[in-house]
């Protein structure tokens, strides 16, 4: 069974991130193993607990958490990229607990665990 890793670089207020979610959810539901999603560049904003998206718009942040809970999907956050964008695991901590605070070393791991890496 082949394994996929995904890198997300687009912010939650872009429809490009809906496509990334759609891809990951489709893969999981069809039984493909997702070794993890690595959030980089503006993608890190998906982990911001304080971000408020209008209730009638697509809730990207919530959707990632649902996938994490349902499929134990690992969500890795590049902390350097995140800190530049106002996320912090200090006090006050605004990173959603479903995300794992990581560095780029984790991306090396994902590349080696996965048969394919897809960037969004």
């Amino acid at each position: 069974m082949k394994k996929i890793a995904v890198v997300v670089t687009t912010p939650p207020y872009s429809n490009l991130s809906v496509t990334a979610l759609d891809y990951v959810e489709t893969a999981l539901k069809s039984g493909v193993e997702l070794v993890g999603v690595f959030f980089y560049q503006d993608g890190v904003m998906h982990a911001n607990q304080q971000a408020q998206i209008a209730s009638d718009e697509f809730q990207c942040l919530q959707q990632w958490q649902l996938l994490h809970q349902r499929f134990q999907l690992p969500l890795h956050l590049c902390i350097t990229a995140a800190e530049k964008r106002g996320l912090s695991d200090g006090q006050p901590n605004n990173i959603h607990p479903n995300f794992t605070v990581s560095g780029l070393g984790e991306l090396v791991e994902l590349v080696n665990k996965a048969d394919r890496l897809v960037q969004f």
Binding site: I4, N15, Y23, T26, V32, R116, V118, Q119, F120
Partner: protein, 97 residues
């Protein structure tokens, strides 16, 4: 050893699709998704020679959402399940965004 090229940007506005075409090899697969769907009727498409055996695919709902018609004689209409399958049946993925 085909490559899967995922094209997400309009070539009317950015250079990404041109760069994709620069590295295209025989038997590669191109999938147009997101704003990549605006390329479906662009003249650059005709520069892809048929002898190279390039498979051109489009995610149906991404084109439909944008009001873009799909010429089925040129493009294979696919869904997200097919894109996941293509990820595994090709040898590497490059996303042009």
């Amino acid at each position: 050893m085909p490559t899967l090229h995922i094209v997400r940007q309009s070539t009317f506005n950015s250079d990404d699709f041109t760069q994709c075409l620069q590295v295209l090899r025989n038997n590669d697969v191109i999938v147009f998704i997101d704003d990549g769907c605006y390329n479906l009727h662009h003249p650059l498409i005709s520069t892809i020679g048929s002898e190279a055996n390039i498979q051109l695919s489009v995610i149906d709902k991404h084109a439909k959402a944008r009001g873009i018609t799909i010429d089925e004689s040129l493009y294979t209409i696919i869904n997200m399940n097919n894109l996941v399958e293509l990820t595994l049946t090709t040898n590497r993925v490059i996303t042009w965004q």
